[in-house]
Each structure stands twice: as structure tokens, then as C-alpha cells.
């Protein structure tokens, strides 16, 4: 399976290489430090890692964990406890059609590519998909989305570079309603969460979409780049505060970056993690699977 292959490069599984580290299978400080190191290098962050480790150390102290296998199982459980509640796939409610999805995130995170993948995904399920080229700022961003539109043979609503992104969203919402589309995917220009004028601009896009359909946008997807570190938590906080994010997409998991910051995000914010990106092609995409993700994080490269 493409996902397994891409997400789990190499063959050294956690259990295997930890057992190798300590052939006797006994738990000691070396093993706990090794686990700590793996979480840190996976971008889980100092605070979240300390919390997880404190919990494990407590169990070790109370002699609840007899051997290495029990320790690993306990770690896996506590990681899953954090993520599993956030693994809630996106359901497109046909009654809400056109189901409007607004895609946001910092510069270069993978928004436009994710829209291309989603268009492919929804179209394969027989839905009528329309795209809105809401990045009217970056050079050739409109043409990039149009290329994805051609690739998937779906309609793209666009204006020229420099146009008001809210106007593009408005046009696209109208077209989607009038022409009976099932799903609208609206691209936006990349922006840093610290740029308050640009965050206001997004709020305006959201508001304008709501003017055509009070329920729209039905989903606000925040795209996060797995190769980023602790700043992604700040991105999630501020995009969520500005817009009310309803789903997360974690891209670029096909490299060696683990995207562990989602543990911190999942601990703090109740935002479902919807999809992952594992490459640049339309098919390099999957629904978020918490157990598979946890295994990939713990694996050593």
C-alpha cells in the first residue's frame, strides 16, 4: 500500500530497535531517555514530551510495567490517547451542498496542492467539484490552481492577480449554488498568523461566503507542514482564534519529518485532524489514521 510504504520508510520498527538497544528487556533510565529523544526529534516539543514521560516514569516507579514490551505499549497508548479523539474524518453532508471548504495556512505549507488532491478525492467519489482561486497575491498562484483544475477536469473560478479574494470567494459561492456543485474548495494566499491585516482579510472571506449560505464555509481546513517545528502550534492557535478552524491537514509526511507537533496541538485544541499529505501527486494523500501515525513517530530512521 502506497501509504504504508511512504509513511514508514525503512523497516526498523520501534519494538525491534528498542529491544535491540536493551537485549535484556529491562526498563532503565537509558530506555526512558531514548524514548524522550525520539519524541523530541519528532518535534513533539519539550513540554508535551515531559508530560508523556512523567506519566511513564510514574508507571515504572509503581512497577506497573514489567518489561520493555509493556513500556512501549504504555507509551503507544498514551500517544494514542492524545490523538485518537482528534482522528475524525471529514464527512461531506450532501444536504448542505454546495459544501464549502476554505483552506488556510502559512506560506508554502501545501494549501494549493492539498486542494488539488481533495478535488481528485471528491471527484473520485462522484461529487461535482468547483475550485476558487482565492490566492490573488502570489505570482502565478491562480495558474497553479488552474493547472490542478485541468488535471482533475474540474471548474475553477478565478479573477486576476491583485483582485479582492473575498470577491473571488463570493463569485465561486454563487457559481457553486447556481450550477449545482457538491463541493467548493477555496484556496487562499499563504500568510503568517502574526500578520493581523491578512488574518482580517481571511475573516472577510469567511464572512462573505456566509452571506451566500449562512452555513458556509462548512469546513475551515488549516494546512500544516510536518517539517515545521514548534511554530506550528502557534499557527494552529492563531488561525483557530481568528477563524475557528474545523480541520487540520498535515502535509509532507513523505520525508523524514514526523510532524510530532500535532500531539501538542491535539492536547491543547479540539480540532479534528482530517488528512495527511505524503507527496506531490494527487494520489499522495490519505485520511488521518492515528495508530499508523503514532507508529511512524516512534520509529527510528
Amino acid at each position: 500500500k502506497r501509504l504504508r510504504e511512504k509513511l514508514n520508510r525503512g523497516d526498523s520498527w520501534l519494538t525491534y530497535d528498542l529491544a535491540n538497544l536493551l537485549p535484556g528487556g529491562r526498563i532503565d533510565e537509558t530506555v526512558l531517555e531514548e524514548l524522550e529523544m525520539r519524541l523530541i526529534t519528532a518535534d513533539v516539543g519539550v513540554e508535551t514530551t515531559e508530560k508523556i514521560l512523567a506519566d511513564l516514569r510514574g508507571k515504572v516507579a509503581r512497577q506497573e510495567l514489567g518489561d520493555l514490551d509493556a513500556l512501549i505499549a504504555a507509551l503507544r497508548t498514551s500517544l494514542l490517547d492524545i490523538l485518537q479523539p482528534r482522528a475524525r474524518p471529514l464527512k461531506i453532508d450532501a444536504d448542505l451542498a454546495p459544501f464549502a471548504i476554505l483552506v488556510v495556512g502559512v506560506n508554502g505549507a501545501g494549501k494549493t496542492t492539498t486542494i488539488g488532491k481533495l478535488a481528485h478525492h471528491f471527484k473520485a467519489q462522484g461529487m461535482k467539484v468547483i475550485l476558487a482561486a482565492g490566492d490573488t497575491f502570489r505570482a502565478a498562484a491562480v495558474e497553479q490552481l488552474q493547472a490542478w483544475g485541468r488535471r482533475n477536469d474540474v471548474t475553477v473560478i478565478a479573477q486576476s492577480t491583485g483582485a479582492d479574494p473575498a470577491a473571488v470567494a463570493f463569485d465561486a459561492m454563487q457559481a457553486a449554488q447556481a450550477r449545482g456543485f457538491d463541493v467548493l474548495l477555496a484556496d487562499t494566499a499563504g500568510r503568517l498568523h502574526t500578520q493581523s491585516n491578512l488574518m482580517d482579510e481571511l475573516r472577510k472571506v469567511k464572512r462573505v461566503m456566509g452571506r451566500i449560505d449562512a452555513g458556509a464555509p462548512h469546513e475551515i481546513l488549516l494546512v500544516l507542514d510536518a517539517s515545521q517545528g514548534q511554530n506550528a502550534l502557534q499557527q494552529a492557535r492563531l488561525f483557530n482564534a481568528a477563524l475557528g478552524v474545523t480541520g487540520i491537514v498535515l502535509t509532507k509526511l513523505d520525508g523524514t519529518a514526523k510532524g510530532g507537533i500535532v500531539f501538542a496541538i491535539a492536547s491543547e485544541l479540539d480540532i479534528p485532524i482530517r488528512y495527511i499529505g505524503i507527496g506531490e501527486a494527487a494520489e499522495d494523500f490519505a485520511e488521518f489514521d492515528a495508530p499508523a501515525f503514532v507508529d511512524a513517530v516512534l520509529k527510528k530512521d
Partner: protein
Amino acid sequence: MFDKLSERLQGVMESLRGRGRLTDENISDTLRQVRMALLEADVALPVVKTFVESIRTKVVGQEIDKSLTPGQTLIRIINDELIALMGAGVRPLNLRAQPPVVILLAGLQGAGKTTSAAKLAKWLKDHERKRVLLASTDVYRPAAILQLERLATQLGIGFYPSDPSKPALTLAREALQEARRSLYEVLIVDTAGRLHVDAEMMAEIRAISAEVMPTETLFVVDSMAGQDAVNAARAFGEALSLTGVVLTKTDGDARGGAALSVRQITGQPILFMGTGEKTDALEPFHAERVVSRMLGMGDVLSLVESV
């Protein structure tokens, strides 16, 4: 997030208040706090370990500045050491070669290569009065070539119209021929974003490099990058002879610890930092600014003085 880090370091200074001198025992807890502060800033774990050890050997037995407490002395040493590590060898772009001087940009997907290519072209035009040709070899990402063309046109800079149906290597060769033929002084070659674990794509950029023989090979890295930046930097450094780094997206609130990781792993200086999306948002690298950001303080030295 910001305050917590400052608090850690404030705590570091407090905990050492009233000690006579820095010893192995009284700094170990402090160094643990420093280690955590650097990890929170996204400095890669192996780089943090090496750094903290070097600080330990440096400070034990260190004489303390009369006006400062041991804690302040330690923070000052850490600050100065980080600046020395980050800023050592910062230099302008090397243009001393037979024209056309070639600058090759490499990096992960979305790092900011294309934007940085345009920014560097504008920089060379405005500051060095150079005639620059921009060329893209990104035949993969939709509208990647057009993106560079738009930027070049907007800036009034030469652009080589790459044909996306040709292999990237051919485009690099053709662009160099065009730069020679039309007597451009500098050729900037943009490349497609690639993962360091993608063997085919890494071979491609090695071939491009061998073809155009760049004077500068710049690794473009996002200042929001996390722990994995070391792996990427190492692989790009092994595949290419990197000569420098461009740190992008420094206009946000990322602590930018990856900059230290990349600096250490590649051994190459950070030459420029991107400070915005517009083509004039490029500045020579300021080590002090990035270090105080990493340590989570607006101005480390004023904090040292105020304790």
C-alpha cells in the same frame, strides 16, 4: 510561549544568584534549562547536545565579570557563543568568478527558493549593478516556471523561458548558454523543491550542479523548520557543495532554532534572511537578531543588565 522561555532563562539567572563562581555542580541544572530552551526554539537535539557540552567546558572555572552575577555571566556567554556560531564567516555573495557567475538554489518544497531567487536578483541589480538572468528548472510543480517569470518581469530582470517538456538538466544547460551568449554577469538557477530522501531528485540536482558549476550553492531553509532540518541539511550538504544558506520567513514569530542546526551541519554561513513575501524583503543575515529570538528575549543583553 514567548514568556515561558524568557522565564526559564530568568530562572536560570536567579538560580545562580549569589554563587561565587561557575562550577560543574552549580551550572548543571542551569544547563538543563538552557538545553530545553534551545529545544523549544527548534534547535536540533544533536546540535543542542554539542552546544551545551561546549558551553560547559567553556564556563567551568570561568571568572565572573564583577558587575554581573554568575547567572548573568552564563547567559552572556551563551548569547555571545551563539552569535559567534551563527555569524562566523558571514560575507557578501561571492561574485569573483568568470561571468556569468552562477548561483544555484536548493531546498525542500515550499521553503522559499523561487521567491528568494527573485529577491537575490533584485538585490544584485540594486546593490551590485549586475545584469542578472533568472532561470527555472522546476518542470514538476504546476506554474512554477511562470511564477519565476512573473517575478522577473515585475522586476525588469532577464528571464530564460524554460520549456517544461524538457528535462531539468537540459534547461540548466540552455540557460547557461543563454547567459553566456547574452553576456549576463550572473545567472540564478531556481530548482524544484525536493525531499532529501528522494534519491532520483537528489541525483538530478547533483547533475544540474555539475552542469552549471555554481560559484554559490545556497540552501534555502524555512525559519519555521523543526528537528528534521538537520537531516535535510546533511543530505543536501552531502549531495552538493553548499556555500551558504538563505533563511526565509523570518517575519513571523518562529524562534528559528533550525538556523543554528543548518549552520552547524552544513558548516556554511547564513548569508541572507527573507523578511516578507515581497521581492525587496531580503536582508543580510543578522546573527544577533536571530539569537535573541532563539533565546526568547527581545534584547538579551538588556535583560542581563536588568537582573
